[in-house]
Symmetry: C2
Subunit: 266 residues, 2 copies
């Protein structure tokens, strides 16, 4: 993974037409970095969005502007955020910049806060995590943990996890996502089986939840999430920037449908 | 740039339908690396394509297969290759894998040899380089050097370069490509000027060549090469995997048109 994704800052600016556009990268080259994110800008007021690193933590970020400029925080968005829970893929491995992971792309498209709770190697849907997630009050819960869960774990944990969220939030839409297809699964039997078995377990859990009366529960199929030419991943599992872009296209559709169908939180 | 792009190997396989599909990455983690590119394959005969690293040189690559398998070289393609000459962008910075640079993507789509003569920081169209390039006999020369050449250098070197190639190859199609737009040029004046001035110089050189009777000369405009959302580059200049994909889409069109219109070498 590129250092710009692991440890970089990523700056976007809102254009006059209201859309977000990339503006500058803070390339890291040591533990503490001082970088120019952008220079030569005219003095019009603009809204900026700064993404923090995808993997490395930060101790502090200080932003400097020339003396003739001023900078002030944008008021918080009062609308509910969309929460993603998942694995290294959700977290943003292997994006080349922090603004290129799926939740970042979607956040700009929806112009709404997305909370990225991707935990590299640890998206496992434990009940303790469900209790913590239930403390949030999002517009949508989007759960994309299958790449970190084999079929037996899926069978054991998905239903209890959803029930804990549902108890705290009777109506909040919840999406259960199938895992992205391994990009070598078309030729390698054990990868194909791994995809197939965990999806089968997820589908059963989903149907059990529906049959027990759970509503506002959505299902994101695997097909097409990262494309089908093999160029959606770096290593059969983690997206290239092209893969993240494709995944955002797919997730945008289901989220738009959910938001259109939702009576609250818009 | 990710180590998998700088120093990795990248394996593709031809599927039954004739299209190339990614199969495995050789991740580097030291000076000398031993990696499993793919395992668990069935024993059918298949054609493979192995890309060498985009930046680091190699001393040797040895390929091992299980004793029950065999491997042999594919016969050389007798058809003429397509030659790209350019900068770090042509060379493949910042692709996450060697198979994701523009010439690699196009090579798979056309199923034809592409020779990548991208020289990071050094695509400058010197007459000495033209003499060397004239020794090749490609189907098409695609020249994409503007990111390494300011307007005065463009004005001085493009016409002599083309004339040297043209002398050796009276009919071979030559493409002169405008540079990709800096992804922050919409807001940063000196980037916009840099793009604009070198393109103006290229356009003049192109028209002078046409007016002096040069034929089979093509011009690739800048617009849309990497998209217009800012997510086509890592750093305003070097493509993300999404940017390479978009550039391949654009270059595919002009190359298809040239090949369709060409009477030779198909």
């Amino acid at each position: 993974m590129a250092a710009t994704g692991v440890s970089g800052l990523d700056l976007y600016v809102k254009r006059d037409n209201g859309s977000w556009h990339w503006l500058g990268i803070g390339k890291p080259d040591s533990i503490e970095n001082t970088v120019t994110l952008a220079e030569g800008l005219s003095q019009s007021p603009r809204e900026y969005l700064l993404y923090l690193p995808l993997y490395n933590g930060i101790e502090f970020v200080k932003i400097g502007v020339p003396a003739s400029f001023m900078i002030e925080p944008v008021p918080s968005d009062p609308r509910k955020p969309i929460v993603f829970y998942g694995t290294s893929i959700t977290q943003g491995g292997c994006a080349s910049r922090p603004g290129m992971c799926t939740t970042a792309i979607l956040g700009r498209r929806f112009n709404r806060e997305f909370i990225n709770l991707g935990f590299s190697g640890n998206g496992r849907m434990e009940p303790e995590v469900a209790e913590l997630f239930a403390e949030l009050d999002p517009l949508v819960y989007f759960i994309d943990c299958l790449p970190n869960m084999a079929a037996d774990v899926v069978a054991a944990r998905v239903e209890p996890f959803v029930k804990i969220l549902r108890k705290a939030h009777p109506d909040t839409p919840i999406v259960l996502a199938e895992d992205r297809t391994y990009d070598d699964a078309f030729l390698i039997e054990n990868k194909r089986l791994r995809n197939m078995e965990s999806r089968k377990a997820l589908r059963i859990a989903y149907e059990n939840l529906l049959n027990s009366g759970t509503r506002n529960l959505y299902y994101q199929i695997a097909e097409g999430q990262l494309g089908d030419d093999g160029d959606g991943t770096v290593d059969s599992s983690h997206p290239t920037d092209l893969g993240f872009y494709r995944q955002a296209e797919v997730y945008q559709l289901i989220l738009e449908n959910i938001i259109k169908g939702s009576s609250s939180g818009l």
